[in-house]
């Protein structure tokens, strides 16, 4: 067992010679909603196997720019640190992805000089790299992205789902609502609203939801609608979902750029879901027209 370890050690040594001692980071910061954004440069000590979260931890702990200026610690969001919660999603070197799975060594391979971090551009910034993704969660409400089984009584065993259908649905169920598909979508535009003076939480949410409900639901919600439309019990709400997908901001807003499927960290077949939703919308709208 000695030989492999030596080999590994020499490989590490070789690698560390190539690696820099410092990592430069450029961060697009913003002090609060609606305030101007500004760039800031930071430099942190390099460590092997860093990810962007560990870089941000160092940046926040230093709270000093590379010019030596003291600044408030940078704010970011994160949760699981294993690419299943989606909360640490941001734009890294121009591409949207999770910062927990963005490995510094890989990023430096592409650009050794600097790592560029920006908040997602399609959602309102709360502070620095933290964004408000409530529109994404509203879109799941819009399409009733759930199986309607409310009540306390025993409804017996659920219907059987064929192997084929399971295989089709499992990938769709992996969606973590990170918003990558929406960030990369050229048809999904930012909606940013400000609370009016004296407006209550409920009124502000209602006003925001009314605005969200007029605009594109996006790939994630379309895919969830298809997931629950093919569930034996979820099917009960199929018409309600199709009504939303053929209403304002529905499936028709898709421009077929297919960026969503390219950036999805869970490799969900989003464009297949979109095409299935398109087919369902064709059938639903023709039925609706001739059944009335």
């Amino acid at each position: 067992m000695i030989a492999p370890r030596n080999e590994e050690a020499s490989r590490n040594e070789e690698a560390s010679q190539r690696r820099p001692s410092k990592v430069n980071v450029r961060i697009l910061r913003q002090d609060g909603p609606g305030l101007p954004a500004y760039w800031e440069r930071h430099q942190v000590d390099y460590e092997p196997d860093m990810n962007v979260i560990s870089v941000l931890q160092k940046v926040a702990a230093q709270a000093t720019t590379s010019d030596g200026q003291r600044v408030p610690p940078v704010a970011w969001d994160c949760g699981c640190l294993e690419e299943v919660c989606g909360s640490c999603t941001m734009v890294i070197n121009g591409r949207v992805r999770q910062s927990c799975s963005a490995l510094v060594d890989r990023l430096l391979e592409a650009d050794a000089n600097e790592i560029e971090l920006r908040p997602m551009s399609k959602f309102p910034v709360r502070r620095d790299l933290v964004v408000d993704r409530s529109r994404l969660f509203r879109s799941l409400q819009r399409v009733d992205a759930w199986v309607p089984v409310d009540g306390y009584y025993d409804m017996g065993p659920g219907p059987r789902i064929s192997r084929e259908e399971q295989e089709q649905n499992y990938p769709l169920s992996q969606c973590m609502s990170c918003g990558c598909c929406l960030e990369a979508c050229p048809q999904y535009n930012k909606i940013e609203m400000q609370r009016e003076p004296g407006e209550s939480d409920a009124d502000y949410t209602a006003r925001k939801n009314a605005a969200f409900d007029q605009e594109f639901v996006g790939a994630a919600a379309i895919s969830q609608a298809m997931l629950f439309n093919s569930h034996p019990v979820g099917k009960n709400l199929a018409n309600e979902r199709m009504e939303v997908l053929t209403g304002p901001g529905g499936i028709q807003e898709c421009g077929n750029a297919q960026n969503c499927v390219a950036v999805c960290p869970k490799e969900i077949p989003l464009t297949t879901s979109i095409a299935r939703a398109g087919r369902a919308a064709t059938v639903y709208s023709i039925k609706k027209f001739f059944d009335r």
């Binding site: 050229p186 209403g247 028709q252 077929n256 750029a257 390219a262 095409a275 299935r276 398109g278 919308a281």
Partner: protein
């Protein structure tokens, strides 16, 4: 003048019928606009077979009754609808090709670039050859003084050859035809997703190959007709066309119409010289 309330009702009307408008936009692009474009480019390509073959096709088209009504219902109005709805749709999107230089995204962006080229091209092209309105006052006082309305259906190849003299118009047509071809071929592919014909990445890739081949075929037809126009000798073509015109007139398969003929010949040919 529109009040803010009226504007917001107009917006909400468009929003409420967003699905219908976009599906009609998709459908109108295929039929009749796209289907017409195919027939149009293939008819033009028949000029490869010579001025007489082309003239024969044009005679057939111009023997249709109520041609202006057909033109406006199945060609002009659908194109105008497709263009207006398309501009409105494209203004809702924002290309992000710099950050995501992916094949699908490139096609998305080019679909919009070629759309704008196609709008400029088609409106100019129709003015250049057709004149927009087949109204005597309009043609004599507006279109013709501007050097437009050059096509004469009863002298098809020769009037085209005269209209395409030089290199500026031919280059304009090459760009326009290629833009329209890409827009239509790619449009068939996206329409297949929109209407739910091809679902999976595999079937979409197959459809993409088919659409590419179709685009190459239609584009080649369009370009070859342009080559044919540039190699047509107007004088020779005109002599053939006038012979064919007289024969058609004798056979009662066309109605005489001076506006469909090249000006310098009409008096000369239709009335025999008085013999002293």
């Amino acid at each position: 003048m529109s009040s803010p309330a009226a504007t917001s009702t107009a917006v909400s009307f468009l929003k409420r019928h967003d699905f219908l408008i976009r599906r009609l936009h998709s459908l109108s692009g295929l039929v009749p606009v796209g289907a017409y474009m195919c027939v149009h480019l293939l008819t033009n390509a028949s000029l490869i077979g010579g001025a007489s073959v082309f003239q024969n096709n044009v005679f057939t088209i111009h023997s249709l009754p109520l041609l202006p009504v057909i033109e406006w219902t199945f060609i002009f109005l659908p194109i105008i609808f497709h263009a207006v709805a398309g501009v409105w749709i494209s203004r809702n999107g924002k290309s992000n090709l710099q950050n995501y230089p992916l094949a699908g995204n490139r096609r998305y962006t080019w679909q919009r670039i070629t759309a704008y080229i196609a709008i400029v091209f088609i409106f100019t092209h129709v003015f250049h050859l057709h004149g927009w309105f087949q109204n005597e006052w309009w043609l004599k006082n507006v279109a013709e003084p501007l050097g437009m309305a050059n096509f004469r259906p009863y002298n098809a190849a020769s009037s085209l050859a005269n209209a395409m003299v030089g290199f500026i118009w031919p280059i304009f047509y090459v760009i326009g035809v290629l833009a329209c071809t890409f827009h239509f071929a790619n449009g068939i592919w996206t329409a297949g997703i929109t209407w739910g014909v091809w679902l999976t990445p595999k079937s979409q890739a197959r459809a993409s190959i088919a659409c590419t081949l179709f685009g190459i075929f239609i584009g080649a037809a369009g370009l070859s007709s342009l080559v044919a126009v540039k190699t047509t000798k107007a004088k020779d073509a005109e002599a053939i066309e006038n012979e064919m015109y007289d024969a058609r007139l004798k056979a009662h398969t066309i109605t005489p119409d001076d506006y469909k003929r090249s000006g310098q010949h009409q008096v000369h040919e239709r009335m025999p010289e008085p013999i002293e």
